[in-house]
């Protein structure tokens, strides 16, 4: 426990130190991130028929999702991502619609996770920080952890706790970033706050190679979905995937946010 905390602290300092070296357009201070060692992992979406596990390479993941305030800094420096200037190809009409103005989210939601952002905008944000969006397997690997176990997916209580979020309508205010407890890896807010974009959102389901991904429509209606999902009782993950697969890269939604990741050895 102490060791983990200490590690967390060192990482936070390291991140802060490297922040000023970030590219133009990056927020003044990059948020803390943690290294996740990865390893063999059983995803709800097996990489190929008869292949149960996939290898997740070591990566670094932001501890919390990007906030409205973070994203406002980005928009100030990269005005082409303002809602009134963004290219229609890269964002739909809902893009940052909930902000007070094109550059200011308003104080009330500054610390909440940014939502109403397209995949393109989220990718651009991470890129500007020298980072990228996490890939699905990375995200799923990190999100499989409870506070005590790296993979708690078989724990019915933990599952129900996640499902409870889905049993609340999205009309209430979002919590501020970092308000849920850290999981085994020290990551917060993976569940119970917002959906999150992943780098491969556009290809994880509708693959050019159907042998790799099964029926490309498998998540879209009942019969096929029931056939190709693994861990059919893992409703929480199924819903994540259904949500991601419903979104085109230009789409935005009131409950879809994101966080950034990097390959290890490369500080964000």
């Amino acid at each position: 426990m102490n060791r983990k905390l200490a590690l967390f602290g060192i990482l936070a300092v390291a991140c802060a130190l490297t922040a000023h070296a970030a590219k133009l357009g990056a927020p003044a201070s990059a948020p803390p991130s943690v290294t996740i060692a990865g390893g063999q992992f059983e995803s709800v979406l097996p990489p190929a028929p008869n292949v149960k596990t996939t290898k997740v390479a070591p990566f670094r993941l932001d501890v919390v999702p990007v906030s409205n305030a973070d994203f406002a800094e980005f928009v100030l420096k990269r005005p082409e991502w303002r809602r009134d200037r963004v290219a229609g190809l890269f964002a739909d009409e809902g893009y940052l619609r909930h902000w007070a103005s094109a550059t200011d989210p308003g104080a009330a939601i500054a610390k909440q996770p940014v939502t109403q952002v397209s995949w393109f905008a989220a990718s651009a944000y991470c890129e500007a920080r020298g980072a990228r969006l996490p890939r699905w397997y990375e995200w799923e690997f990190a999100a499989a952890a409870s506070d005590k176990k790296p993979d708690a997916r078989q724990d019915p209580d933990w599952r129900q706790q996640i499902l409870d979020w889905y049993s609340k309508s999205a009309r209430g205010a979002l919590p501020v970033v970092g308000s849920t407890p850290a999981n085994y890896f020290g990551v917060r807010d993976l569940h119970g706050v917002v959906w999150e974009w992943v780098e491969d959102a556009g290809s994880m389901l509708v693959s050019d190679d159907s042998r790799e991904q099964g029926d490309p429509n498998r998540n879209r209606f009942c019969g096929t979905g029931a056939l190709s999902f693994e861990q059919k009782e893992n409703y929480a993950m199924m819903m994540r995937i259904a949500m991601l697969s419903s979104m085109k890269a230009s789409y935005s939604s009131s409950s879809m946010g994101f966080r950034c990741a990097t390959d290890t050895g490369k500080a964000p």
């Binding site: 409870d164 889905y166 049993s167 309508s169 009309r171 209606f221 259904a242 949500m243 419903s246």
Partner: protein, 498 residues
């Protein structure tokens, strides 16, 4: 065009052969309809029509069209927190803000342009699979819609019938369990025979973390859903959706049609209307019908059209006759029928009395006493006579017809010092039972008398009056008022009952 004309001609011939349309029931096809192969009635004609969508239990008016049309349906998906029971809320995912979703009514051969809108505040993506659609997924893939977006697809309604629609987004079971289903009626080309009332009722099963009626906001319980162990089984999405002031209303002499669906996700419904017989059931939502049906089976993801004529006023109860669901999980709705009494068909209660088996000599005395009580002219004589009959049925098994009891087991009532000493105590013993030793006429009895909780105040009064005036006892009387007073001032032992 030519094909269409021919089809219409054929339809006209068919109608002619079967009789005039106002003899509604006889025009209904009994032979094969030809299914989807006969369902293309040609291109849509005239201006596009916007479908009237209704919230349950309302049903849109008949299309009243003679030609196929382009029908535009705009359905919005909304995720809402609503009561599922008194003081219990649940996050429903809905088609049109209600459970079940809006009722859609089109005519066979119509071209339906379907717009599915997913409210910006939705957390989930959704889609729709209409069982009335011919095509892969029933529209599911074509209508997969992210929050804050809308999608459109078009289908031709080739098959007539009553069809379920539902969301088919993964995890499908959860979307359905959260209320994402409704009905679409595809009328036959000639329309349905006219009726006085049409209702829209749909059953569903619900799975909450908390127990039945546990207060507060209840999340979905995935394990209960997988185990097919519902917390609630409901008509129209909440307990009380169709009871009390919200009961369905009709009148005697009316012909009623109910479009009944079952959204599931898991349970099959044994749909039954207590006190009525379905004159006609179009089972499985199909074309043909069965007559004179008591209970019809409605599969999850299926529907039935039931029709009946109302003769007798009163409350009729809709239930899932898998009956614990009705009384312990909420599957109850009320049809309130107004109108004048029809004692020739149903009398109502003519007699309410104790059934005394072979011990009963003549119930007339009880009836006489009950009538006298009602008219306020009850005499001690009448009480004794009624009490005698009641005593024979209720008390004599132990205390014996002679009132002598059984030595060492059941104490005597005849010349009993214990009985005669305290009238109030005697009333209390009949009402609440007696457990433990008592001394009667010098002998000790240690036995158990159960509380006679099945007896009302009049009956207790009559029995005791009889006992006080029989077998040489000195007389006196007990009134129902005295019994009532003792009943309210004493307490029966926990769990005790006759």
């Amino acid at each position: 065009m030519t094909k269409n004309t021919v089809a219409m001609l054929m339809a006209a011939l068919l109608l002619g052969a079967c009789g005039s349309p106002d003899k509604a029931a006889s025009t209904h096809p009994t032979g094969p309809t030809g299914g989807s192969m006969k369902g293309d009635l040609g291109p849509a004609q005239g201006e596009p029509v916007h479908a009237v969508l209704t919230s349950p239990p309302e049903v849109p008016p008949p299309t009243n069209r003679k030609t196929p049309a382009k029908v535009i349906v705009e359905l919005e998906v909304i995720e809402v927190d609503k009561p599922i029971s008194d003081g219990v809320t649940y996050t429903f995912w809905t088609f049109g803000g209600t459970v079940p979703g809006s009722f859609i009514r089109v005519r066979q051969g119509d071209t339906v342009e379907f717009h599915l809108k997913n409210h910006p505040n939705s957390k989930m993506p959704h889609n729709i699979d209409l069982h009335g659609v011919t095509g892969p997924g029933g529209g599911a893939a074509s209508s997969f819609t992210a929050p804050g977006h809308q999608s459109q697809f078009t289908f031709k309604a080739l098959n007539q019938g009553l069809y379920v629609y539902h969301c088919a987004t993964a995890p499908v079971g959860m979307h359905v369990a959260n209320g994402m289903y409704g009905l679409i009626l595809v009328e036959p080309p000639e329309g349905l025979p006219p009726v006085d009332k049409e209702f829209y009722v749909m059953q569903g099963d619900y799975y909450t973390v908390g127990k039945y009626r546990e207060k507060g906001h209840q999340p979905f319980d995935m394990q209960k859903a997988i185990d097919e162990n519902p917390t609630y089984v409901l008509f129209n999405g909440s307990e009380g959706a169709l009871t009390g002031p919200k009961a369905l209303k009709a009148a005697t002499g009316q012909h009623v049609r109910m479009f009944v669906g079952n959204g599931g996700p898991n349970l099959v419904s044994s749909f039954h209307l207590i006190g009525e017989i379905f004159d006609k059931v179009q089972y499985e939502g199909g074309t043909h019908f069965q007559e004179n049906v008591q209970t019809t089976l409605i599969p999850a993801g299926g529907a039935a059209t039931v029709e009946f004529h109302l003769e007798v006023p009163g409350n009729y109860v809709l239930v899932d006759h898998s009956i614990f669901r009705a009384f312990n999980k909420g599957a109850v709705a009320i049809l309130e029928v107004s109108g004048g009494a029809r004692a020739d068909i149903y009398s109502g209660k003519q007699l309410d009395e104790v059934y005394l088996s072979d011990k009963l000599a003549d119930p007339a005395a009880i009836v006489t006493a009950a009538q006298a009580t009602a008219s306020g002219t009850l005499t001690v004589e009448q009480q004794i006579k009624a009490g005698e009959v009641l005593f024979k049925g209720t008390c004599s098994a132990c205390h014996q017809d002679t009132g002598a009891g059984i030595p060492n087991v059941f104490p005597p009532l005849a010349k009993s010092d214990f009985l005669l000493a305290d009238k109030k105590r005697a009333i209390g013993i009949v009402l609440n039972g007696l457990n433990g030793p008592v001394t009667v006429n010098g002998a000790t009895f240690n036995s158990v008398m159960p509380p006679m909780s099945q007896l009302n105040d009049d009956e207790v009064a009559n029995i005791l009056t009889f006992a006080l005036n029989s077998w040489g006892n000195k007389g006196g009387a007990v009134t129902a008022k005295e019994v009532a007073q003792v009943r309210t001032t004493t307490k029966r032992a926990e769990g005790a009952a006759h």
